[in-house]
Amino acid sequence: MSETTLGGIAGRMPKFIRRADPAVLTAFACIVVLLLVGSVYSRSFLSPEYLLQQLKVASFLGVIATGMMLVILLGQIDLSVPWSVAAGAMMACAAAAYGPAGVALAITFGIFCGVLIGIVNGIGVAYMRIPSMIITLATNAVSQGLMVVYTGGFSPQDSATGAMRYLATGFTIPGVPNAVIIWALIGAVMVFVLTRTGFGRAVYGIGNRERAAYLSGVDTRRVVMIAFAVSGGLSAFGGVLLAGYASKAAQSMGDAYLLPSIAAVVLGGTSILGGRGSYLGTVAGVILITLLQSILSVMQMPEAGRQIIYGVVIVAMLLLYGRAPASR
């Protein structure tokens, strides 16, 4: 599927619509509805500045959801997102305490820590055949423990470096926040990998039937492990960007990203059983979730209401198009 080139869409509109996933179309339709609802609440909701701000906030979730999508396409799940995000952010900030070299390598070190968490997940899932939700919960607990021990209950060095702040809030191209550019770059690479490389094909193959992929000569275990490592790295990178955005790292900063990242992927039409889904859908899911959050906060909905609406929306959307086939 090559729905990335905007120019090509207009030329073959009917074919594009025919080929499009109904889930992706539903997600985009929901985005339009949300925008209309939002504009009723506030005049400024449709202004370019506000929308760009939303896109910037969405890009943090977008980066994290990209990794989650790769794992979900395999038919697995990564529940270690909360503390991968926090570990990435905290380790990047911590590295900055070690002189100029530390500052220069801060972002790399943060991502490296996320990749390490991902590799442990990958070894557990691919080589030790432990169910992914269990091993990722366990690594999540271990990284939480490591972070608690490291900080010792207080924060030694928790302010973000200039580079991190620039990545998250700066402008290289006037008018377009850097975070959005980063998300676009990562998204483009992801689309390329998924649609144009053997790795991407192997990911879809494993998601459909790992046995068949293995018998066709794919080193499925390596593919699974790489996917988990990438997911960990992207979660940590999301954490680094978040730390740059808030200009500091906090322990619980990742908690708010587990459910939204899974929801964004699933609402975008990627099958939770693996093997089916497009990146365009994930983009739609991320924007949908961000707009939903934004509207709920414009309506001054308390945290409790937000959680309830989240859960209900996800279950409702899943019931619409995420159901498993009946056992017959």
Binding site: I77, G124, M128, R129, I130, P131, M133, I134, I135, L137, A138, T139, N140, A141, V142, S143, Q144, G145, L146, V148, V149, G152, G153, E210, R211, Y214, L215, T220, S252, D255, L258, L259, I262, A263, V266, I272, L273, P302, E303, A304, G305, R306, Q307, I308, I309, Y310, G311, V312, I314, V315, L318, L319, G322, R323, A324, P325, A326, S327
Partner: protein, 326 residues
Amino acid sequence: MKDWRYWLAEQRGTLLALGIFIVMFVIYTSNHPAGFTANVVQTAANKGVLLAFVAMAQTLVVITSGIDLSVGMIFLLTNCLASWLVVGTPIQTTLGVIAVLAAGLLCGAINGAIVIYGRLQPIVATIATGAVYYGIGLLLRPFPGGSVNEDLADALTGRLFDLVPASLVVLLAVVLLIWVPFSRSVLGRAAYAAGSSETAAYMSGVPIRRGKFAAYTLAGLLAAIGGLFLTFFTYTGEAAYASGNAYTLFSIAAVVLGGVSLFGGKGSAIGAIFGALAFRTIGDLLFVFDFDPLWQPLFQGVILLVAVSLGAFALFRVRNRLEWFL
């Protein structure tokens, strides 16, 4: 083979968990400054029983080869509910307890309905319903507070005849009244059968849907009993996100330690209870040996990681490489 050998093979996980628990508890009490006294046992029992109820709830779902990531949140929600309802005269208190248990049943039934009749993946469905339950809990108790009938609370968290912790007696009663009848009923067998091979069970005409639904619903009830006990210990209700998540996580650790297979169809809630007690005792060992409490989350995480990795030993028995991929 003789009958007792079959029995031994079936109960191996449970017996192993019992063994781990006894060893850990002996190490714990022998190094505890106060030693093996009724007070130490009572405190340990009260802490352990909370996790034991949640772990039993998790077991019921895991046996059907599902997973319930909302048990911790049902536990929190019922805690918040109990801090409103379980107060006043004995009659009011009784009605309150019934209402709290009914709420737990309802939460479990909703999970079951979504997973079985809605045909959604248990992981995602229960994460989402968990968010809803947490939200409702937060709505009930935006700030920690509330109260509970203290006579009842003290009776259930105290000691019977000044010797046996009352909470252990309640745990035993719950096992005898809920787990034993369930596991010996047709529905319980259907839950086991659905866990070990859903297709085969379906083909044999086993009522798998009803069995799984009963398992999810009873899981909600057991989590609610846990929530009720949390209220009895703390006298308050609190919707703490981290605590709900921790209980979900620890319940999985307890289930694994208790010899329940995460692939379903194998294990028992009694094993999970010993797993929960062992997990709590291991966590508390740090305090006895005067470690910094900061290390506790890491220590518990590592135990969980090691416990789930033990399952990988089954790979050595795999003859055909295709059996890697279930």
